[in-house]
Subunit: 269 residues, 2 copies
């Protein structure tokens, strides 16, 4: 009367990952170059013979950085032998210094880093001074022209809310079916010559952050009037908005799960 042997369900893990994107073709490998995903999968393979696939919350672009990307993987229960508190340390020992697993934790059985995400925060750095700061050359965009922060903040405010952001995403060939996203935060702070843009929303289209920052900076030096933002959103055409800010200034800062993050402010109107 022995019960039939059942395979126990696989064990699922959630990783919080930071990387300097300078040397990588983004999260996913392109035709050439290395993706951060395959790099970490290589490290996982040293500890888990089943060579688990890693699925990330976001597919950051070439050269973009991350301090809080979330990813999940699953392994057969039999392979789960390392104590969980040592897992991040073990994976890091097999990674180069520009990629770090900040936290490794057990995840609920059906956790999906990408589809369960309820929001994301990106930050973008601009060095606004005639000469670039050499210590920030890999982490900020150098904008030498004087910028009118008041004008930029007024423009940023117009982007907050639920909009069709088609005008701010790069065309990847295929027509975009749904470009409606909610941006609930678009702040700009200044500390000396360093401007930091904080963008938070329920989802970001391909190169959307960089399109927004590029357009706001161009508004700041007079290339567009503040009201142009309204027209850009209304026309739903990439040619209407401004330039893409370079990748090196962008950091995927945090991915939110569960309830809306505390900084959510309901857009007016």
């Amino acid at each position: 009367m022995s019960a039939p042997r059942q395979t126990p369900p696989p064990v699922r893990f959630k990783l919080t990952i930071a990387y300097d994107g300078t040397a990588y073709q983004g999260w996913q490998a392109q035709r050439v170059g290395t993706g951060v995903q395959e790099l970490i999968e290589g490290a996982l393979a040293k500890f888990f013979p089943s060579r688990p696939r890693l699925t990330g919350s976001s597919r950051t672009d070439t050269g973009v950085h991350a301090l809080g990307l979330v990813a999940q993987f699953a392994v057969p229960r039999a392979e789960f032998r390392l104590p969980i508190r040592k897992l991040a340390l073990a994976i890091n020992s097999a990674l180069p210094a520009d990629v770090r697993v900040l936290r490794a934790a057990r995840a609920p059985r059906h956790f999906q880093a990408r589809f369960d995400a309820t929001g994301k925060q990106y930050r973008y750095q601009v060095w606004n001074s005639p000469t670039m700061n050499p210590l920030l050359r890999a982490y900020a965009w150098h904008v030498p022209q004087p910028l009118d922060l008041t004008v930029m903040r007024a423009a940023a405010k117009m982007l907050v809310g639920r909009h069709d952001f088609r005008s701010f995403t790069a065309n990847r060939g295929a027509p975009l079916e749904d470009a409606v996203r909610t941006l609930w935060r678009c702040d700009i702070t200044r500390r000396g010559a360093l401007l930091t843009f904080v963008l938070e929303g329920d989802g970001f289209l391909y190169k959307m952050c960089r399109g927004i920052v590029g357009t706001l900076v161009q508004t700041g030096y007079g290339r567009f009037p503040v009201d142009a933002i309204k027209t850009m959103l209304a026309r739903k055409n990439r040619c209407m908005a401004g330039m893409n800010a370079p990748a090196r200034g962008l950091v995927l800062w945090r991915v939110f799960y569960g309830r809306r993050p505390p900084s959510f402010r309901r857009p007016k109107g």
Copy 2:
């Protein structure tokens, strides 16, 4: 009755220089590698046929960064043809991106970047978290142990004042004749996992900043009691103090000329 022809005095310039020290053997070249000084001298030679020598305010060590090093050079008046407001731009066009001239200005005839300096500010960054931030790996020291900031600040306070800092300088072979310096600021601030040490004084001995930061961090995790700082100063022996913090966390932030900087606080007692 024509006056005898006199050679006009040379024209003197003051440069404010920033660099990422990662790739360099410090300000001055060692037996191997490249120094920032010779790199800028190479750029100057493209604009000034007399190939002027550059004299810096400080000789930063291998791997140490700078955001406000000051240097001077002089050229015959006949070679001074570029408008001064274009000089920094011109020199930068002949430099790699990790070295920048932030400002170029005419200097008084007898200005000496090194001997006229009345004070210097150094900053040191520590990333105090179990895992390193990959974006700071070239600009901060990773200290994974928990640090007691209260204890560290008490220890830092004991270093402020006029002291013989022999115990905090690395021995370069030759015996040190005068090791008395005034440190008028030694602050530690925390922003998340990032600690920033701000050290200001009338002069710093070889590796003195790194000796101080290393000792304070070791005090922060219990290697030394706070009072040990007093003994270290009194003994005037390098073996008494703690470790040297690594070069990559250190930035020569600013060099002061003329009157004492506004942050000067007269040490008590």
